[in-house]
């Protein structure tokens, strides 16, 4: 809890510094959040290489937003980072739509999370329960998966998820509850 409060306060300070285009603050923001943004994107695109490329793009876009002084629409550093990340993934699928007829983030065709590189794959192989959850996540509705990853894995609060998704906090709570229920059912199948 204390750790979370310290992080929140640090994020708030970083965000204030970004408002005055502080370059060092941006580098600190990258160090503090690159892993979370990478993980968030990884579960959307199902590829280590694409997740790396898109994470880089996100931070370069965020820097453009900071430089342009367009931070008024964002309340927190996390809402800025996750909103840009979401939009970047949407742009990525739209731009590659002509090349890839089958979208990985399509509700009708759930993703099959199997990575060919060590890292996520190795981690999951070592733990049979985790392996079940990992597979179930791949079968989950993208809307649920996104919120589950943000809340349970990346530890975003309901209010923060509401800011990123543009939904009301009450709706986010409902999605978290339904998502967790759906994930549990899939894991128990």
């Amino acid at each position: 809890m204390t750790k979370s409060l310290v992080k929140q306060s640090s994020d708030r300070l970083l965000f204030l510094r970004l408002k005055i285009k502080d370059q060092a603050a941006f580098i600190q923001a990258y160090e503090a959040h690159q892993a979370d943004i990478y993980r968030f994107i990884y579960f959307k695109v199902n590829s280590e290489a694409e997740a790396q490329d898109l994470t880089s793009t996100v931070f370069l876009k965020v820097w453009s937003v900071v430089q342009a002084g367009k931070l008024k629409g964002y309340n927190t550093l996390k809402s800025l980072l996750y909103t840009v990340a979401r939009n970047t993934v949407i742009d990525f699928y739209r731009d590659n739509g002509k090349l890839n007829k089958v979208s990985l983030d399509n509700q009708d065709e759930p993703i099959d999370i199997v990575d060919d590189k060590p890292g996520a794959h190795e981690l999951v192989q070592q733990d049979s329960d985790l392996q079940i959850i990992y597979r179930a996540l791949g079968e989950l509705k993208p809307e649920y998966r996104e919120v589950i990853i943000m809340h349970f894995v990346n530890e975003l609060s309901v209010a923060e998820i509401a800011q990123v998704t543009g939904k009301k906090p009450g709706n986010v709570r409902v999605i978290i509850h339904r998502g967790l229920e759906a994930l549990r059912k899939l894991a128990n199948e």
Binding site: A35, S47, Q52, D95, L99, V153, L180
Partner: protein, 251 residues
């Protein structure tokens, strides 16, 4: 599994993190981007006369003259470093600058997979050229580093091509499973030169297309890898170029 257990398992997924080398390289790319765009200290010159007056005053100060000379030397040195850096090999002090430049190029086309694959093949060709230039007996570490980078780059391209092929096959399956409303005209796979006669009056005969004549870009890249292993560097570069051209024509 109950909800509590599921949420506990989900927390474990926090251990999924990007590769440490990549994080550190990206930090350098981002730092280069952030500090490169830095605005110089602003001096507002409303009129040219103000500018010349300021310049005259500035150069009357000995410190400024020394600084200007230093800046000229450093800027000149920076340009030279960049040009030399383009020829740098692993282990050289300027190699990191070269890597940053290559990564920036890749980032610029991060939304276009086809372009990114082509660029990666070009970078792989660059590694082959470096390998040909390096003394492999004397610089074993350098040769190993170039070889590792070459393998990683072509492996990335092959992975992406394989993913694209899987997706295309899945899309074709979906399309094939849909009911056909219009009867398709079945065509023969033949060259269309069966109508004329040649100079001797003989009829030209159509030939069926043979599937074995065509190779996929992935197969050509594998051949390039084999040639690289056999130290046939020139042929390896030719293969990489052929794969790139094939990918281009398949667009």
């Amino acid at each position: 599994m109950n909800d509590h257990f599921v949420s506990q398992q989900l927390k474990k997924l926090r251990q999924i993190t990007p590769n440490a080398d990549w994080v550190s390289q990206q930090r350098q790319v981002i730092m280069a981007q952030v500090y490169h765009g830095q605005q110089p200290a602003s001096l507002a010159f409303s009129r040219w006369s103000d500018f010349w007056l300021s310049l005259k005053y500035a150069f009357s100060q000995p410190g400024v003259v020394v600084s200007a000379i230093l800046a000229t030397v450093l800027l000149g040195g920076g340009t030279t470093s960049y040009l030399v850096g383009r020829q740098a090999k692993p282990g050289d002090s300027l190699y990191i600058a070269k890597q940053l430049s290559e990564r920036a190029q890749l980032l610029a086309v991060s939304f276009d997979r086809a372009e990114q694959n082509k660029l990666k093949l070009a970078l792989a060709s660059q590694r082959v050229s470096e390998m040909a230039a390096v003394d492999q007996q004397a610089d074993q570490q350098q040769a190993a580093a170039i070889s590792r980078e070459f393998k990683q780059t072509v492996s990335d391209v092959k992975d992406r091509l394989a993913q694209a092929e899987t997706k295309a096959a899945a899309a074709a399956l979906v399309k094939a499973s849909q009911p056909k409303t219009v009867a398709s005209n079945k065509t023969e796979d033949t060259f269309s030169a069966a109508t004329g006669k040649d100079k001797t009056g003989r009829l030209e005969v159509s030939q069926p297309v043979t599937a074995t004549a065509t190779k996929t870009p992935s197969q050509i890249i594998e051949e390039a890898e084999q040639l690289f292993d056999k130290q046939e560097y020139s042929a390896a570069i030719d293969k990489l170029e052929a794969a790139s051209q094939l990918m281009d024509s398949a667009k």
